[in-house]
């Protein structure tokens, strides 16, 4: 399983898609928003938590279809399915690799972009914390969507339609956590709920993803 | 109860809500019936062909 994880990481880095693309997209969205909304600092800092979260979510979405597509094309997914490790484990490792190549860089880059969005000072640690907590859920949920659509030729758009509604709770609690953190309010509730969603999704969704993969590889 | 209809100042509101909802319901029923009839005819034709072959 660890070997699989390392292999996925290497592939993502070599292809250059993982790190670069998601981060670049994140940056562009965050740059475009002030251009559309206007440069006024107060407005920007008001919408900063939401924009940063939505941008992170979209950047995450961008690389989802690559999770299984390449392995499906060259047949290695069939090999993985018959390999002596449980498919649930394969799925979890895939999600983890996706998170390390997208969620983690997004989290690390977020303070710089928050600067552009004029996020109030106390919000920074909460922004990083909420992204670190929430993006694993995005990766796990996205892996589920990718597993559903793996056999389809034009799966990309469908994938977004399927996955985005599933992202709603994570987005709400994640952005709320940043908003409250930035305003200096109590953050315990959204924090715990966000952590709960991530833990629950990571624990349960791999089974659903593996079931979907088995159906698709039948 | 009052028999004659006076919707008052909200006439447009009530009529448009009812209109939109009824249009959607009628469209749903129509689509269901049309597709049902189409599939049924195609199936009957296919069954007839199959009957002839044997």
């Amino acid at each position: 399983m660890i070997a699989l994880f390392l292999r996925d990481l290497r592939l993502a880095i070599r292809a250059g898609g993982g790190f670069g693309l998601g981060l670049g997209f994140f940056l562009i969205v965050v740059v475009l928003v002030p251009l559309g909304v206007g440069p006024e600092g107060r407005t920007l800092s008001l919408i900063a938590p939401g924009i940063l979260w939505v941008a992170a979510l979209l950047a995450c979405l961008l690389s989802l279809d690559r999770i299984f597509a390449l392995d499906h094309e060259d047949g290695s997914l069939d090999l993985l399915a018959t390999a002596p490790i449980p498919l649930e484990g394969v799925v979890t490792m895939k999600a983890l690799a996706h998170w390390v190549t997208t969620g983690l860089p997004l989290t690390l880059a977020s303070p710089v972009l928050a600067l552009l969005m004029n996020l109030p000072g106390p919000g920074y640690p909460w922004l990083m914390l909420s992204l670190a907590l929430g993006t694993p859920a995005l990766s796990v949920i996205g892996t589920f969507g990718a597993a559903l659509t793996v056999g389809l030729k034009r799966g990309g758009l469908l994938l977004s339609l399927l996955v985005l509604p599933l992202y709603v709770p994570t987005l709400i609690f994640g952005a709320e956590l940043v908003k409250r953190g930035a305003a200096g309010q109590a953050v315990a509730t959204p924090f715990l709920l966000l952590a709960g969603i991530t833990a629950g999704a990571a624990a349960l969704l791999p089974f659903a993803s593996a079931a979907a993969l088995r159906v698709n590889l039948r | 109860m009052q028999g004659d209809l006076d919707l008052g100042k909200y006439q447009m509101t009530v009529l448009s809500a009812w209109g939109a909802a009824l249009v959607l319901i009628v469209a749903l029923v129509a689509l269901t019936l049309i597709r049902g009839a189409k599939v049924r005819r195609a199936l009957e034709a296919a069954e007839a062909r199959k009957g002839k072959d044997q």
Binding site: P169 | T13, G36, L43
Partner: protein
């Protein structure tokens, strides 16, 4: 593999044909009675004026919008556990109806909200979660439409329906937490009718019964169509082979 392995569908076709013989008139009578009563023979309400008449479409369609998803969830579970083909097809048949009902609830709500709240749309928890429910319906139907192999489609959509149900529920609570809304609490509970005056209560009950009958009738009709479409596909495939 025999095309006629669908022994159960055959049984279903017979039973549903018999059921539809009295369900269709029942639906027609209930719908016409409830809607005509609601539209023509209810007095305008004190505060809301004649807009109260929208309730006869808004509440029943919202109920069906939610319960159609529940029915799909149950049907998906049955397909998952028992591999009962009719069940998967019934779930597929119900989705467009549920989506339409959700849309009706949203549209009538928006039109009603304009004079009452002064806005077409507010990001109120109930409104928002209904919009999200509508998105779930769209995704579910899109997945059905995208996959050609019928059993694969049935499997994948039922997985999506199960996962989607959990997340729809989560979203409902998340949205509640996110914003306190304009929408009043539930004005209907099964046991009591405290919020609704008698003049509206009876036609509303008839409308709800009518919408339920309407839903059942349409699901049966559409499931029959789906079964026929499956058989047609199998026949055509055999023609090509032979």
């Amino acid at each position: 593999m025999s095309i006629w392995k669908y022994a159960n569908p055959k049984q279903f076709m017979q039973t549903s044909a018999w059921a539809l013989r009295w369900l269709v008139p029942l639906t027609a009578v209930l719908m016409v009675l409830g809607l005509v009563w609601g539209f023509f023979f209810t007095p305008p309400e004190l505060r809301q004026g004649s807009t109260v008449k929208i309730i006869f479409l808004h509440v029943p369609s919202a109920m069906i919008g939610i319960n159609a998803w529940l029915m799909m969830l149950v049907a998906s579970l049955i397909w998952f556990i028992r591999r009962h083909h009719v069940s998967a097809l019934a779930a597929r048949a119900a989705a467009p109806i549920g989506a339409t009902m959700t849309l009706i609830a949203l549209i009538t709500g928006a039109i009603w909200g304009e004079p009452m709240w002064g806005t077409w749309w507010a990001w109120d928890p109930r409104l928002t979660s209904f919009l999200i429910l509508f998105l779930f319906y769209l995704g579910y139907m899109a997945l059905w439409a995208a996959i050609e192999e019928p059993d694969t489609a049935a499997d994948l959509t039922s997985v999506l329906c199960l996962v989607g149900s959990v997340f729809a529920l989560l979203s409902r609570y998340a949205v509640n937490f996110w914003n306190q809304g304009l929408h009043q609490g539930p004005s209907l509970t099964v046991a009591q009718k405290q919020h609704v005056a008698d003049a509206y209560w009876y036609p509303l009950m008839i409308c709800i019964a009518g919408f339920i009958a309407f839903f059942v009738t349409l699901v049966l009709l559409r499931t029959r169509t789906e079964i026929r479409a499956r058989r047609l596909q199998a026949l055509l495939a055999r023609e090509r082979m032979g």
